[in-house]
């Protein structure tokens, strides 16, 4: 049997079948459904661009909360998480192998918990009564007089979501950048210093980053994707969808709200398409920003 397996189809078919079924078809279906009215019971009815028009003009929650929230969340968690990953990876590259390995594992470990499993920690830390760790600490230090409802208060929820997401942002991209920095040819640095490189800042910008640009790009894509994947965290923390006064409502939660709670699948699909387009364009912009440098 093995003796005769030469055709490329033997190799690519299993992957391609699953890839098409669970990634490509759903994306195409999302685009198709976004032009219909579909309540899961009747057959989808074609309504043109109405979902998109409604989303942009009539959906007040979307314009007032969901979109600004998503933009705020993405523009803080994405870039800050990415820079943190790079800076920490760079610093790790400056210390010997053994402590580096231990610290890298520690820094990477939160991303393994995938937010969900650790939801319980954050609910205990930020718990709204005086048994919450943060409340108890702040009360003790007499910074506040009565406990703050961190997770159900619109004023705090978003910031807590950002903090929790940043906590888990040292993921695959971080490992890739660390490996990238460690693999840069040492002679590049020597040559550059002979040519008049003066300090470590110049070294980072003229040698390190250009030499590991492929890993920087990979890390950037992972940062963008990671940012949009952890979106469910607001619902997780506050225990409700919609989140209190829509304070932590992101695009992902809006999709779930309309799709699985209100059963407006066509409308939810239109939101999905908007989300995919957002991720795609942000990745492209990041990509071209990084490509131009160096």
């Amino acid at each position: 049997m093995l003796k005769k397996m030469n055709h490329p189809l033997w190799f690519i078919t299993p992957y391609v079948v699953l890839f098409v079924t669970f990634i490509i078809i759903p994306v195409i279906l999302a685009i198709a459904l976004s032009f219909t009215y579909f309540n899961t019971i009747q057959t989808p009815e074609f309504i043109g661009l109405r979902n998109y028009i409604e989303l942009l003009t009539k959906d007040e929650t979307f314009m007032q909360y969901v979109l600004p929230n998503t933009i705020k969340f993405a523009f803080i968690v994405g870039p800050v998480g990415y820079m943190m990953s790079f800076v920490l990876a760079w610093m790790l590259a400056q210390i010997p192998h053994k402590p580096r390995t231990v610290l890298a594992i520690v820094l990477y470990s939160p991303s393994m918990t995938a937010g969900i499993a650790m939801g319980v920690v954050w609910t205990i830390v930020f718990s709204g009564d005086s048994t919450g760790y943060l409340n108890s600490l702040l009360l003790d230090m007499q910074i506040i007089n009565e406990p703050i409802q961190f997770l159900t208060s619109p004023d705090y929820l978003m910031n807590i979501m950002i903090l929790v997401s940043l906590w888990g942002s040292m993921g695959v991209g971080f490992l890739a950048m660390l490996a990238g920095i460690l693999n840069i040819d040492q002679s590049l640095y020597e040559a550059a210093y002979v040519d008049g490189l003066r300090n470590r800042w110049q070294e980072i910008f003229y040698i390190t980053i250009p030499a590991m640009k492929p890993q920087m790009l990979f890390g950037a894509v992972m940062a963008v994707v990671g940012t949009f994947t952890v979106g469910a965290i607001g619902v997780q923390l506050s225990g409700a969808n919609p989140t209190p006064q829509y304070a932590g409502q992101l695009l992902v939660n809006h999709i779930e709200d309309f799709g699985f709670i209100r059963y407006l699948m066509g409308y939810a699909s239109a939101i999905s398409v908007v989300l995919l387009l957002m991720i795609y364009s942000i990745s492209k912009v990041t990509w071209s920003l990084l490509k131009d440098r160096g």
Partner: protein
């Protein structure tokens, strides 16, 4: 040495000049590990310490009560804990195996074989690196319902097997292996599949370990499939059961101890596997760049 400061990258031993990096790295490491240390402590706290006011971070008299409560809670609801565990182990082990096999085979095809549409396929896959599964949960649900996978073990496995990141990493890694190796094996009469299994797989084992880890994390931590595609409670996974604990225990203080125990059980396999394979992961990541 002082002249070539770049030589400080990847140093072999400790030097005074590294102190400033430790001053940043150690507090960072402490900060990110606090929640994990907390979970470990909380999971072993007896009831009176869970209720202690003001709350204490470290456990004083560790007990296993939270764990036994966790097991009992499952049995009370009609499905023994071992059933969830069995489902998770089954789904994760089959899923990881298939994911590694399919991904590496496809990566070999994309890297070393010639066929029509090869370049397009790789580009679509690179584009799919940006794919966020939860964005298309609804059409995915419809597709899965159409294919008739609802309420089967397969639905817990199949949707998570094709990982664009995995294919990408293994393909970049296989690109590094010299063509001469393959050519000489062909002269000896080996088929492509034999070359793949006997020559390529051993060489790219670091990349396969990486795909294995990523796939393990995906499958072991997945809640979505159990929530959306499975109605029969006895087929759901451990991660799903853990995610329902909040509602089951009514978010009580005693429940927090049980949930901490659950978090610990789901976290430990992830970290243990990563610690064992981290060297291989780093080796793979060196080739991870998007060119």
């Amino acid at each position: 040495m002082a002249k070539f400061q770049g030589m400080k990258i990847n140093p072999t031993r400790y030097h005074r000049s590294q102190i400033k990096f430790y001053l940043v790295l150690l507090p960072m490491a402490l900060f990110v590990s606090l929640p994990i240390i907390f979970i470990i402590n909380h999971a072993f706290k007896p009831t009176n310490e869970l209720f202690a006011f003001p709350p204490r971070f470290f456990v004083r008299v560790p007990t296993l009560t939270n764990f036994t409560d966790l097991f009992r809670l499952a049995s009370d609801s009609g499905i023994p804990f071992s059933r969830y565990l069995f489902n998770s182990v089954l789904v994760t082990s089959i899923g990881v195996f298939l994911s590694v096999l399919f991904t590496s085979a496809a990566a070999y095809g994309l890297s070393k074989l010639k066929f029509k549409g090869k370049k397009a396929l790789f580009e679509i896959n690179t584009l799919a690196l940006m794919f966020v599964p939860i964005a298309v949960m609804i059409p995915r649900y419809i597709t899965i319902a159409r294919v008739g996978l609802i309420d089967s073990y397969l639905v817990l496995i199949l949707p998570l097997i094709a990982m664009p990141v995995g294919l990408f990493l293994v393909k970049q890694f296989i690109d590094q292996t010299p063509d001469e190796l393959i050519e000489s094996a062909k002269i000896d009469g080996a088929s492509e599949m034999e070359i793949f299994l006997k020559i390529i797989v051993p060489i790219v084992s670091p990349a396969l370990a990486t795909v294995g880890i990523l796939s393990f994390q995906l499958l072991w931590n997945d809640i979505g499939a159990s929530t959306l595609y499975i109605n029969d409670d006895s087929m759901k996974t451990l991660a799903f059961y853990f995610s329902t604990l909040g509602a089951r225990t009514g978010n009580t203080v005693a429940g927090q101890g049980i949930m901490a125990a659950a978090s610990l059980i789901s976290f430990v396999p992830n970290i243990v596997i990563f610690i064992f394979l981290q060297g291989k992961v780093m080796n793979t990541m060196a080739h991870s760049g998007i060119k």
